[in-house]
Symmetry: C2
Subunit: 465 residues, 2 copies
């Protein structure tokens, strides 16, 4: 008999009175004199299903009464209406096969009591068996699938930007070296430095910090592309918002200016949040109950609202006139801090804001210079409750201005030969942005630490499992 | 006026007589005395659209007659029936705006003449502008999207297996080290070896060779999961089939035995190939014409056929009785070579074969021992025209047998503590496999070298762009 997902049984996909087979793990088992309640979970949705096993089953005494949390079972039974609340059906067992026991229930790490998230991180190989990490895993999947679907429907082409890069021009943060050289007897050149010509790639190589520059090359042929892959930062930041390895979505759109870029970001966030509320309401109800009371309502607000567009310069005026005392006093030219972003999004506007046109001196070399000569066509999407969730820009497509900017920033023009080629051969206005998947999942679920929204977090001094 | 994708115009999404706006790059331009033909491409499909620009346009002499391959244009015009063959509509230009010129058409690398694939690899930032790499890019995207969609529809959860790993137990190939230690003055321990406790992760860390073991931990909670991410091999293999960085899909299915695993592999390949023929027939027609005559027909054959299941032991008998002279003589216990696999799939069976139950001595430590004590529940999917395209197995879920195997292979049990925990706590039968995305794209398109089916290939002595 074919296995049914428990979520499907709970959704009523099998008629009352029909026989079904489920397979999963015991969440809780409660033994009464003549029967047992077994709550079984298989990861297909938030809720386990209740199975009633009566003592006439031939392994009732031997096995069923000995079931504990974490045991694996293969159960065939009849779908019956449930008298309990919170579920419409349950299963009356015809056969309960025990597939795997828990070696020592007393020391099983995922016992049915509350565990701290810190403790669960140490149990990275088992923590998906908990309500909270299971729900995160399904929501994360839902978000990732929605991102792919949205871009595919819009005619975007997924591009695998390279993970290993020898490019000197990304410049977005500290990098990890990738090497096969012997660390003990590292071959040296005449200058005493490591001789990377003997390394695997024949040159010094690193893990990418962003796929943007590579994605731009493909946007100049396919028009609309996006990357969705891992990126890396070797920063020694032990915070709840930083990972050394994280997943990033980076659309790059030929022929789009900053306004088109902002429209795409807004449409994408709405599409993704809508998918979460439609497909994973079970998990979101849990987050709203236990983690972040506004988890559902704030997504709905974003879906329903028009994102405000605001210039950086206007925001500075608003902040200065706000009468608020900020930790960092506001003046034109500074990078806005989280306190400022949140004041604008939460207090002043009350809905998401696309902040645009930042001072060029606080932004990256590839951003397009505005006509005022002082600002660049950069944007950040600020969401109430988190601040910046997306950062992007229109790219400088004019070779002369790009070269001038390199010079200003004292960046070596020869490193950018292929990036400059895009400006020499059929250049077009183009824009793009980056969305960190983990920050997005953390925002959606209300989880406070990004280490809890990626299966196996990599952080300073930690690369477990 | 909103931009339309050229593929949509060619598909008839804009009515004859309506005005449309397209943006893209000139493929070819042909100037006649009173008008010009401009073929414009935007990556949205295989075919460019023909634009007819008459000399009454005010920039005809100044600009339009000077257009060359690679220039970027923004064109508004009327959709008219095309008298030319191979296309039903063309555009009669109302306005031709030139966005970007080609600096020196004589030296523009992507001139409209045939280029070798080797030359195009050196132009990795521009090669997506060619017919062949553009088509590969769209087919690759179609395959990736179909893989996500298929698994999502089947209730699988996408898992980000870690890219950086300190795990000693993957054992699938040579690894790249990931480090931030100073190579020149590498800190040493008392034993003279590098002191990795001072490294970023506090221990020696590598790039993953497979996400399987991590995926298994999530399958033991979510039931059906898959990874889809980059994996790495630091092997010095300079062949047309090897990349140092490649993308892999690895489903892992709790409660599935080897037969269920084979069924999933067959269903996935059929789903993906069907999506390619439905969504990318334009590109596939190009591959059939120019690269591999059977490109379309062999996919159709696979979609229509039932994959044969065959035991390794039976295959050995068939090969020995075949009367063929193989380079590697066949005997039970050996790893089958490509020549053997292709004989079975192409000559003996004539359709895809799932080869199962291989000698344990040629297979990995985690594969499930069969009752004969000699073979393990491993499988390879062999496709006509390529040989092995998928490799997988049922995993050893029985702790005692797993431990015995570790001992046999002299692997240190302590490295596998978390993998063993999965067998101690609610173990279940489970299976999975791996599909290399690049080998799949190469097979579908008929491209002979995997370096041409990934945007920026990483190989020994090469990590360009």
């Amino acid at each position: 008999m074919t296995r049914l997902a428990i979520a499907d049984v709970l959704k009523g996909k099998a008629a009352i009175g029909s026989t079904v087979r489920i397979q999963g793990w015991v969440r809780t088992a409660q033994v009464k004199p003549t029967f047992a309640f077994i709550n079984v979970h298989d990861g297909s949705g938030f809720h386990p299903i209740q199975v009633v096993a009566e003592d006439k089953l031939n392994n009732f005494q031997n096995e069923i009464t000995k079931l504990t949390t974490g045991c694996s079972v293969d159960i065939t039974g009849e779908v019956v209406p449930s008298p309990g609340k919170g579920q419409s059906v349950e299963i009356k067992a015809i056969e309960v096969k025990v597939l795997g026991w828990v070696e020592n229930p007393e020391t099983y790490p995922i016992s049915p009591k509350p565990h701290s998230l810190e403790f669960l991180r140490e149990q990275g190989h088992l923590r998906a068996r908990t309500n909270v990490i299971g729900a995160v895993t399904r929501v994360r999947n839902c978000i990732a699938q929605a991102i792919h679907r949205f871009h595919h429907e819009q005619g975007f082409v997924w591009i695998a930007s390279p993970i290993i890069t020898a490019s000197d021009c990304e410049g977005a943060g500290e990098m990890f070296r990738v090497s096969t050289l012997d660390m003990v007897n590292c071959p040296r050149g005449a200058d005493g430095k490591p001789d990377y010509s003997q390394d695997f790639f024949g040159r010094e190589a690193f893990l990418t910090v962003s796929g943007q520059l590579n994605a731009e090359t493909y946007a100049m042929a396919m028009s609309k592309v996006y990357t969705f892959g891992p990126t890396f930062r070797a920063e020694n930041s032990n915070t709840s918002r930083h990972l050394a390895e994280f997943w990033m979505v980076e659309p790059e759109i030929a022929f789009a200016d900053l306004a088109g870029n902002a429209d795409h970001a807004e449409a994408m966030l709405k599409y993704v949040f809508k998918a979460v509320l439609e497909e994973r309401l079970d998990d979101m109800e849990f987050f709203a109950q236990r983690i972040e009371p506004t988890a559902i309502s704030r997504l709905q607000t974003i879906i329903d609202s028009n994102f405000e567009r605001m210039d950086y310069t206007e925001a500075v005026k608003i902040l200065q006139a706000s009468g608020q005392s900020f930790q960092f006093p506001v003046e034109w030219g500074m990078d806005l801090q989280s306190e400022h972003e949140r004041y604008i999004a939460e207090k002043h506007v009350g809905r998401p804001v696309v902040m645009m046109n930042y001072p060029k001196d606080i932004k990256a070399f590839y951003m397009r210079l505005n006509d005022d000569g002082k600002t660049v066509a950069a944007m950040d999407v600020l969401a109430p409750g988190i601040g910046e969730i997306i950062g992007g820009s229109q790219r400088e497509e004019r070779l002369e201005l790009f070269d001038r900017r390199l010079k200003e920033m004292q960046l070596p023009v020869e490193n950018y030969w292929w990036y400059r080629d895009l400006r020499r051969y059929g250049t077009v206005p183009h824009s793009g942005f980056g969305l960190g998947l983990e920050r997005c999942v953390a925002y959606v679920t209300g989880m406070q630490n990004v280490r809890d929204v990626i299966p196996f977090p990599r952080t300073p001094k930690s690369a477990e499992f």
